[in-house]
Amino acid sequence: MSESIARIPNGMRYYCNSEAKARREVETIAMSVFAGWSYEEITTPTIDYYSLFNKGIGNTLADKAFKFADADGRILTVRPDVTSGVARAAATLCANRARPLRFSYVASVFRQKQQSHAEWRREITQIGCELIGRNSRVADLEVLLIALEIFRQLELEHDLVITLNNVEILKGIADGLQLDPNSREELRRLVDSRNAQDITAFLQLYTPREDASAFARLVQLSGKEEVFGPAQRIITNPRSLAALDRLQVLWQTIQSLDLAERFEIDLGNVSQLDYYTGLTFTIYVRGAGAALGSGGRYDDLLANFGKSEPAIGFVLNLDALSDLLSARSNRVVEARRQTWETISSVDRDSLELFREALRKREIGKCIRIDMNEVGTCAN
């Protein structure tokens, strides 16, 4: 039996009508915010070598990509991520340009394997930006403020929480315990799931019980300014302390800008520990069951492409974002609902019809030609 032509592959879908419109609107708003902060748009190849993504975003995500062989036998993938391609361009194509480089993009990324049970899509449209060549509080803050402005323009600011962490805190602790890569990944997983009992049990293999349970309390700390005091008492190693200090300085700037209401410190947020090197952040909006965006500092990535320099960036999930906006009939998206003036083609000379149409288009009117009776048109 032949397969129905209506069938589409798992994790793929159409967007039409108001949904397609909401997507275009979110994209336009985000890209105009990026442009407003002087980020230039970049388009990366849709298909690229597997080795690029393996070196870039890392094998966990690269392995989830659709793969096939090129004519010369090298493995190609449909891009699972945009950052890898941007980083390579920065290190090669744009190696001689003045720093910092500021890039923005909107692009689909593809994963053969579903990312999680809740994220069923295998094509996800990412809106993102990268700031390459600076490792400073100014750079960290610039990208955070850009993210915030996008949500402000989408009128989602009051439902927004951006959580902040510095992954160097956990890396410093793992170093101090001399964890091998496997144990470090295990610790990351436990911290990420926030189970104090599991973390304590795991750390007791390496450190006295009091230290283990103190650390377990540390990763459950989330909140605002009040997080720093207890954290500074628990942490002893210099690498982690420096990272905590940097986070606190950033926090104080956010506070001075009167933006503390939108941000939270969350010392347990440690996804993708091997990729990120400093500040990390995750964006949650009321009404969405999963994060709508995430980002952070990835100072080690460009060295993989032969030019060691710092970078920071974030991505937003356009699909989840426009789903949310459509579901709550957001004003920003609604405002763009269009109306058309119908021009009848019934019993009319087509020359006259199109003269009218062109005249109206010239003055910017939206028109819709009624073709129901087109067969009766003269000529």
Binding site: D159, S193, N195, D198, E264, G289
Partner: protein, 213 residues
């Protein structure tokens, strides 16, 4: 405070979970407890409780339909959902074990056939040590399989071990312990931070470890 929706695994864990919740001050009133409704409000109106199949608890929580869930660790190991697990609850204590017939002799080929409801846990356990296995997924009465020749052994949950003994099986290996856990949706953990922190503190207080942790 925002209303929290808690998904609770029906069956084995349900009575203990409700008892724990009521010790934490979250009481379903008598009427609704006896009714067969699958969604009820607690007396304070701050919590809504959903009763769903154990395997569905992480599904509701991962999608953010429920903010939190109470479910056995066995379910979390089997499905590896992307949720937070801030608290282990001293309820529904059991073990995930490998059991084989009393008189079993290791097969010469080294290949093992395993009947189980927990195919992911079983596969992961044996593959991590390079043991080739064939997993036969069943949905119940797993203890029958070795006796009837369907499999060499089983991977299953046990509380007392009575069913195993009655079917001529013995525990060969304990894979891990399992207990009830509180799980939380990642977005809810941030967006309803105060309510969730209150719930975690109340449940931690109400969890009776009998002196041991």
């Amino acid at each position: 405070m925002r209303e929290l929706i808690i998904a609770i695994a029906k069956g084995r864990l349900q009575a203990e979970a409700l008892e724990l919740l009521s010790r934490a001050g979250i009481c379903a009133n008598g009427d609704s407890r006896e009714s067969r409704r699958l969604a009820i409000r607690d007396e304070s109106g701050q919590y809504k409780l959903l009763f769903v199949k154990p395997n569905d608890v992480p599904v509701y929580v991962e999608h953010g339909i429920a903010d939190c869930g109470i479910v056995g660790r066995d379910v979390l190991l089997e499905f590896e959902p992307d949720v937070l697990q801030p608290l282990t609850l001293n309820i529904g204590r059991c073990q995930i074990i490998v059991a084989a017939p009393e008189a079993a002799t290791p097969s010469a080929s080294g290949m093992l056939t395993i009947a189980t409801k927990h195919s992911h846990i079983a596969a992961k356990h044996f593959r991590s040590r390079g043991q080739p296995v064939e997993i036969i997924e069943l949905s119940g009465s797993v203890e029958l399989a070795p006796g009837l020749g369907l499999s060499d052994c089983i991977v299953d949950l046990v509380q007392t071990g009575t069913t195993l003994r009655d079917n001529g099986l013995k525990i060969v290996e304990v894979i891990t312990d399992s207990m009830g856990r509180l799980i939380v949706n990642r977005a809810s953990y941030q967006l309803k931070a105060t309510s969730i922190a209150t719930l975690i503190a109340a449940l931690r207080q109400a969890t009776d470890w009998g002196g041991a942790t």
